[in-house]
Symmetry: C2
Subunit: 578 residues, 2 copies
């Protein structure tokens, strides 16, 4: 992983490939890599869809090695949704395969002069880029089928659906899973639109004959990895809850906590929650012959995913994640798992962020385009996006834009990115993360649900402002570091609660890189990433005024706890004052 592949799509005689040493970026992985490159190379005031923006695709530092859980792929750019820096990461096979091919990053640059669509193929022999207009407007599923026919069933794909080609601000970059299905997505912030602006439909990765990446200290690495896996297995969240019910185990938990945003963030509990809970989903999957326990990439030991099959037992989609179930479920007043699974499939196929899409549908419902609870109407709205009708183009550009188009005031976005599945009034630590994250409203950026609701990594009263700043700050720092490692964020549960497991992670990193790292180094890495990102955003014109929730969260109280967001602006401004 000592090379960077640059593809200049705007070169005079068509796309130009340049492979160069990692140079100043050596030793960086995942989000550390994408944010360093974007911060250093992308002019902060450039148009996100223009030739000066770059799409950076980077496996984590540990990706491609035998380290458990190291399969996250980071995708970074200036975001068409937020206008700030963006890193979205995904599971699936992409990171492992790309890392084994030796690339620490693929950087897509420039912009083609005409509207030709391209595909990229990378294997042990090098890189090939080919025009292929036959791929135009294919859904991710049909695309991957076509690619399989051409390149076989061992390759991994990094692709965009029609939403990316239409440069919609909620477009994702899809990554194929172990079954070569485009079910994993770098979802947030419109990274797929930037790939679309570069006119690359798919990057096909074939790591045949490429070795697993090996650690500098093989024995120490093995030992540390073993301890790490044991730590994950013994923690109740990663050892029991997530494998049994997937991320959707949270539906009942967050709903009971009164923080489940319902009817476009109107109330904190949904009457239909039990019907779409992880428990109900697992039961349905098992009854139909699907599976409730499945990994999204090789080397996963948590296996929080699953397989959702239809009534006839045929694969429909992967097990919808908690955020997806919420976005299309409770937030839209929908309590039908079959409908939610169908929407998950459509989102994956078109290449749309499920969180942004669900939040947008709820705003559209508030605007009167459909009734809350009407799942057929909701499905049709998503189909509009896939078709690229005028309405579809509105919706595909996210909740913020949809709110503007229809003159709606209650739009739950920060930095124009939709809030995920935790109401910031009832989970105030999440509110701090939503407000201050460099990414816009993003639960993964500092998952305060841990100490606010789950009692993981301590306890901080979710309904009060006290302690939330420190909680969010520490989580944001730790998360940035984890996002650089290639590790799945779900390791956080165990490393927050179990000092041994955290030490094992540090040991894995030390053994792999041949350095002698400490916990402090991990913290320093996290801080340096956030600093790069904050710096980019400041140069793009962001100020403390962008680190705020919409005003109505401070005015409208949320049932059942009847709380408003109480963390003061001056406190929010202290999150990065470490």
């Amino acid at each position: 992983m000592d090379q960077i592949l640059r593809i200049n799509m705007g070169a005079e005689n068509g796309p130009a490939i340049r492979i160069e040493p990692t140079g100043n970026y050596a030793g960086l992985g995942g989000r550390a890599m994408t944010s360093a490159v974007v911060s250093k190379e992308v002019p902060p005031l450039c148009h996100p869809l223009g030739e000066d923006n770059k799409l950076v695709i980077a496996p984590g530092l540990l990706s491609g090695s035998a380290a458990a859980m190291s399969g996250r792929l980071s995708v970074g750019c200036k975001s068409p949704l937020t206008g700030g820096i963006k890193e979205a990461n995904s599971g699936g096979q992409g990171a492992q395969v790309l890392a084994r091919l030796g690339y620490a990053a693929i950087i897509l640059e420039g912009k083609p002069k005409d509207d030709t669509l391209y595909k990229v193929f990378i294997n042990k022999d090098g890189v090939k880029i080919t025009p292929d207009n036959s791929l135009k407007m294919l859904g991710n599923y049909a695309l991957v089928d076509k690619i399989k026919g051409e390149y076989g069933d061992k390759v991994a794909c990094i692709s965009i659906g029609p939403a990316g080609e239409m440069k919609m601000a909620s477009a994702t970059v899809a990554v194929t899973d172990m079954e070569q299905r485009p079910t994993r997505h770098a979802g947030r912030g419109g990274v797929g639109a930037v790939m679309g602006s570069k006119q690359i439909k798919v990057i096909v990765l074939d790591d045949s004959e490429m070795p697993m990446r090996s650690a500098k200290d093989v024995e120490k690495f093995k030992e540390a990895n073993k301890n790490f896996v044991q730590g994950l297995r013994k923690h109740p969240v990663t050892g029991e809850g997530l494998p049994a019910y997937g991320t959707n185990v949270l539906t009942n938990v967050i709903n009971e906590a009164g923080g489940y945003p319902t009817y476009n963030f109107k109330q904190g509990q949904f009457a239909g929650a039990a019907k779409i809970s992880g428990e109900a989903l697992a039961e349905l999957e098992k009854a139909r012959g699907g599976s409730a326990t499945h990994g999204c990439h090789k080397g996963c030991v948590i296996r929080c995913s699953g397989t959702f099959v239809d009534k006839d037992g045929n694969f429909l989609t992967k097990q919808p994640e908690y955020e997806t179930v919420w976005a299309h479920g409770g937030n839209c007043g929908i309590d039908d798992l079959n409908a939610i699974a169908m929407m998950d499939l459509l989102d994956d196929d078109y290449g749309i962020d499920t969180i942004e899409m669900g939040a947008t549908i709820a705003v559209a419902m508030e605007a009167g385009l459909a009734k809350f609870g009407d799942f057929e109407a909701a499905i049709n709205l998503i189909k509009e996006v896939g078709k690229g009708t005028h309405l579809g183009r509105i919706l595909g550009n996210g909740a913020g834009l949809t709110g503007k188009v229809f003159g709606i005031e209650r739009v739950p976005v920060v930095k124009n990115q939709s809030m995920p599945a935790y109401d910031p009034r009832a989970v105030q630590g999440m509110g701090v993360t939503y407000a201050t994250s460099t990414m816009g409203a993003d639960h993964t950026a500092g998952y305060a649900v841990t100490a606010n609701v789950l009692g993981v990594g301590g306890n901080v009263n979710a309904l009060k402002p006290e302690g939330q700043i420190e909680l969010s700050r520490n989580l944001q720092i730790a998360t940035a570091a984890i996002d650089a490692s290639g590790m799945c964020l779900f390791i956080a549960f165990a490393i927050l609660d179990q000092p041994d497991t955290f030490q094992s992670l540090v040991d894995i990193l030390s053994a792999f890189t041949g350095q002698n790292l400490t916990g402090n180094d991990v913290v320093a890495l996290g801080k340096s990433i956030l600093t790069n990102e904050r710096d980019f955003n400041a140069r793009a014109g962001f100020t403390s005024k962008d680190d705020r929730l919409p005003e109505y969260f401070k005015k409208e109280s949320l049932a059942p706890h009847n709380v408003i967001f109480q963390v003061k602006d001056e406190e929010l401004d202290q999150v990065f004052n470490w």
Copy 2:
């Protein structure tokens, strides 16, 4: 003019009227009033369509008096288009009548709990507010007809069309002219959407039995006004060009200067310019029995407007202004005056900013929704806005949003507001104003075309960066003061060139207010207004990064002069460093 009328649309038992002394706002008029109130009373981070925004309607300091040209009405709020402070002003009868009724401002506050639409009637006896859902979705013309039927043909109307009711970010506030036609508009920044969010369709003003406002020193006032009028009459622009051909006299001038934005700012000259020039327009109007010389309000001595009649001699619309002719003409590749007049009528009737609409159509044309030059398609696009279709809602929210929806990079906006009819590369002083104005891209905020192209108030080479900062700064200061006085901005030509005429204006103000003012007081007034506005914008999150043109103006060179915008960022940051 010693009272402020506040209407709280969100009061518990329906709209509540409060009339109070001007208090701290005493002595302020027009933009000085609107920007003081917005800056002091509106929370900068509030939603522009929410209950915390306020719509401030203020006649100028001299409005309602016998001072020539004093008929401008200012409308201010937090803008739904830019997110910053907004003042848009309009000609027509509104300012004179409102001032004579004794109101220094109408402030619309709060937000109704249901969707009832209201009308407001103000006369010598007071203020009456009445629900009237029969007015819903009426065009401005049908609305004014209905109001005439009810209140007679002496009243003035301040109203919104369907675009305002639909809360579109390009919606205007219309003001009736001397013939009681809704032809004058506070056009920019979506002030009509804010009036729509307050659910007031029309404010009907009847100044029967109200006296003209009189000066403190009647004789000095009369004398100064006489000299002022003479000054206007002897200047070639205000004495000849504008009366003969209207504002559209500029088409040939700007086109010859190579600064006429054509095909969505792709080139600086339009082959069809002569066909849509002021000269051609005046000829057509006269040939059909319209008029090329007409005032928009009583007391106008320039009379730059006119009457556009159709082939059968029936009134179609007022003489389209230069910016309108350009926006729907050259910028869209359209060279047909009848089509342009039809679009002007539709814009006025729906209540849409003609500049924003034309710029948006050109962006839509770049997105492939219509061909450049296809005026039938352009007319249909505007009709979509009036109908409020999904496409219409996209377009009605302006060029910036339309560019986002269709993934278009070349969108000529600053602070999300469309640039008017001067390419900032070929008229670099206008570029400085576009970039730095508190209002977003706005030609009226500091009309550097004067010294850049017209040789008025000096000469500064339009194609070079040198001298543009100082030029724009001085004009922005002077303009803010003029916008406070109620004077039409077109007096600027004479006061810039003729020291006597400037002195006459100062004398008018002195005599009217009973103060002993100097030119320095006028400058101080201008600076204080800009300071209020900059302060609001800073608190709303604006930084120097918002004082920039889109990047492509620094990269794409403009024919025929093959120039790029060359004023440096560091220089732009000096505009308000006085």
